[in-house]
């Protein structure tokens, strides 16, 4: 592990921003700290950087406990949420600042800044001030500035929050590519699950100052360990009494369940492809049809429970009030004891027939 947090606690007044937080980050990985606002993710980042001191617990970077080490000695590059570019310096001076502080020679500074500007696609913008740059360019300058002194660990606080949606997409890929090329261990904070899933090698999900789950995006998506994670990552609806649904009679009493749209299929009863498994389906009535750009989102009433399902635009037209057969592949059942994945037991192996 390159970076480790062990039992870190931090409170602001009565507010617990970090509650017994422990996790590790492997060298060279790009990790997302994902959680809703107020979940303490930025505080964790600031504790790692050395801007905040934890009330208790250890921060270990490269096998060395750094709790008492000043921020500037930790070998960290930090990209701030609003970039915090030096407003009265040009792009060049911004990137050169860290090197100047280290008393590097003029030629060395020029070479390094030129290299970084080239790498970040900022050539020709050396003399611009931050307010003369676009959102994406500012982010690149912030990134280059953080990398200039050759840090071993790069921390990014909501790096994409301040740029518009189209550029954001492009910047995500750029960042992912850059980090993997440089091989620098990086942690970025985000509240956007799509961003975390798309960019990160590993995700650390935080909620109310605690770490809820850590793991690869796919694992967190497929095997959420708590209702919070299940709801926060991916789209989901909560249903009561999952035991009433066909195929899920083993669901414990008084439990609840989470269903994602991709766990459900809805089709017309005359669709022959589905006849072999019709006994594993429920009847649902279309209550609403929403056009979502590349698909329809249907809201179905299944025996009094509302379930959401997506439908391809290529399939036969449907209308509100129409009755469909509803097949539920799996659900996440949770009660006081914990959470588990339940597959439709009536469907069983026949799921393969539908491929």
């Amino acid at each position: 592990m390159y970076l480790e947090l062990k039992n870190v606690n931090k409170s602001f007044g009565g507010f617990k921003a970090a509650d017994d937080v422990s996790f590790g980050v492997e060298k060279g990985k790009l990790v997302a700290l994902l959680g809703p606002s107020g979940s303490g993710k930025t505080t964790l980042l600031r504790i790692i950087a050395g801007f905040e001191t934890p009330d208790s617990g250890d921060i270990i970077i490269d096998n060395e406990r750094v709790n008492d080490m000043p921020a500037s000695k930790r070998g960290i590059g930090f990209v701030f949420q609003n970039y915090a570019l030096f407003r009265y310096m040009t792009a060049f001076e911004n990137i050169a600042f860290g090197l100047k502080v280290q008393k590097k020679s003029g030629a060395e500074i020029r070479d390094r800044v030129a290299e970084l500007m080239k790498m970040s696609g900022l050539e020709g913008l050396e003399k611009r001030y931050p307010n003369q740059l676009s959102g994406g360019q500012r982010q690149r300058v912030a990134f280059a500035r953080a990398l200039a002194p050759m840090p071993h660990l790069l921390l990014l606080d909501e790096p994409f929050a301040a740029i518009d949606a189209k550029v954001r997409k492009e910047m995500r890929l750029w960042l992912k590519d850059m980090v993997s090329r440089l091989g620098i261990t990086s942690i970025f904070v985000t509240h956007d699950q799509d961003e975390a899933v798309e960019v990160a090698d590993d995700i650390i999900v935080t909620n109310k100052g605690r770490v809820e789950q850590t793991g690869k995006p796919v694992d967190i998506y497929n095997r959420p360990r708590s209702p919070f994670v299940a709801q926060f990552i991916g789209q989901s609806t909560i249903i009561e009494n999952p035991g009433c649904f066909i195929g899920f009679s083993e669901a414990p009493k008084n439990s609840r369940a989470i269903i994602r749209p991709e766990f459900v299929e809805a089709f017309k009863s005359d669709n022959e492809k589905y006849h072999p498994i019709i006994d594993a389906t429920e009847e649902g009535v279309i209550k609403d049809i929403a056009f979502k750009g590349s698909f329809y989102e249907l809201t179905l009433d299944v025996g009094g429970t509302t379930i959401t399902v997506n439908r391809s635009l290529e399939r036969r037209p449907i209308q509100v009030g129409e009755k469909l057969r509803v097949l539920i592949y799996r659900i996440y059942v949770f009660d006081d004891m914990g959470m588990k994945v339940l597959e439709n037991s009536v469907l069983g192996d026949r799921a393969a027939l539908l491929d």
Partner: protein, 270 residues
């Protein structure tokens, strides 16, 4: 090119008439009165040795006040916006005290604290420190009265700027002084200049506190405003206005300097 009026003409008219009647007209009157008895009389009034002495005392008081309050204002604004400690709010409140206390009372407080009836009077006297009825006393009350002007300009700007840039610089290993010089000061420069101008203008015109602490020792502890009052009380109206015009010129000079600084500041930014 003809400029078009945009806006409510009534409001504009009120503003212009108000400025003319309350600001510009009296100013013109001062100048008219100053030169009423002729140019030679004007020169004689302002080159009177006592007038010259009070001019220099005013300059000394202004310069020292500005320097002291620049340092105090910077430190105070920094410590109030960048540090957190118990009593921070209280200090912020206390810093505004000179604005809410009448200058006359400030003068009295200083007389009571450092004058003959003070318990520390003999201690101070034994160490050769005299405050009441002396030039240092005049300077001290001027500093007191103008204390908040610079810090009050800086605090809101420092608060609005936030700490991100400073943290970014600190993370890269920059030391406090470098951070202040390269990162923080450029943000507050304009507010600082404005604070200095306000402080200087206020120090120049200070009357109440100085009037009490100076003891009106003519030619020794009198600043320009005190000298004007003495002349006025002796019914020497033309000299009183002549000396007043010096204050007016100083004020105008200050405004010109400020405009020039702001002009260059803006030009540098572009």
């Amino acid at each position: 090119m003809k400029k078009k009026i945009s806006g409510n003409p009534l409001l504009i008219a009120i503003c212009v008439i108000f400025a003319l009647a309350f600001l510009i007209l009296p100013l013109i009157f001062v100048l008219v009165q100053a030169f009423k008895s002729g140019f030679a009389a004007y020169i004689a009034s302002i080159s009177d040795p006592i007038a010259v002495k009070s001019f220099w005392l005013t300059v000394i008081a202004v310069v020292i006040s500005v320097v002291v309050n620049s340092f105090f204002g910077l430190f105070a604004a920094w410590s109030v916006t960048r540090y957190s400690y118990p009593g921070r709010k209280l200090i912020t409140t206390f810093m505004d005290l000179p604005l809410s206390i009448s200058p006359v009372i400030v003068g009295l407080i200083y007389i009571l604290t450092f004058g003959r009836s003070s318990p520390i009077y003999h201690f101070l006297l034994a160490h050769g420190i005299k405050i009441a009825f002396t030039v240092p006393g005049v300077v001290l009350v001027t500093i007191f009265v103008t204390l908040p002007y610079i810090s009050r300009e800086l605090i809101p700007v420092l608060e609005a700027t936030g700490r991100d840039e400073e943290e970014a610089a600190a993370l890269m290993g920059a030391k406090g002084l470098t951070i202040f010089r390269r990162i923080t000061f450029p943000h507050i420069r304009r507010a600082f200049i404005y604070g200095v101008v306000l402080c200087a203008a206020r120090a120049m015109g200070e009357f109440g506190a100085v009037s009490i602490i100076s003891g009106h020792l003519r030619g020794k502890t009198t600043t320009i405003p005190l000298h004007i009052e003495i002349l006025y009380n002796e019914f020497k109206l033309a000299p009183a206005f002549a000396v007043s015009s010096i204050l007016v010129f100083m004020a105008i000079l200050l405004l010109i300097i400020r405009s020039l600084l702001e002009y260059y500041d803006r030009k540098n930014e572009e």
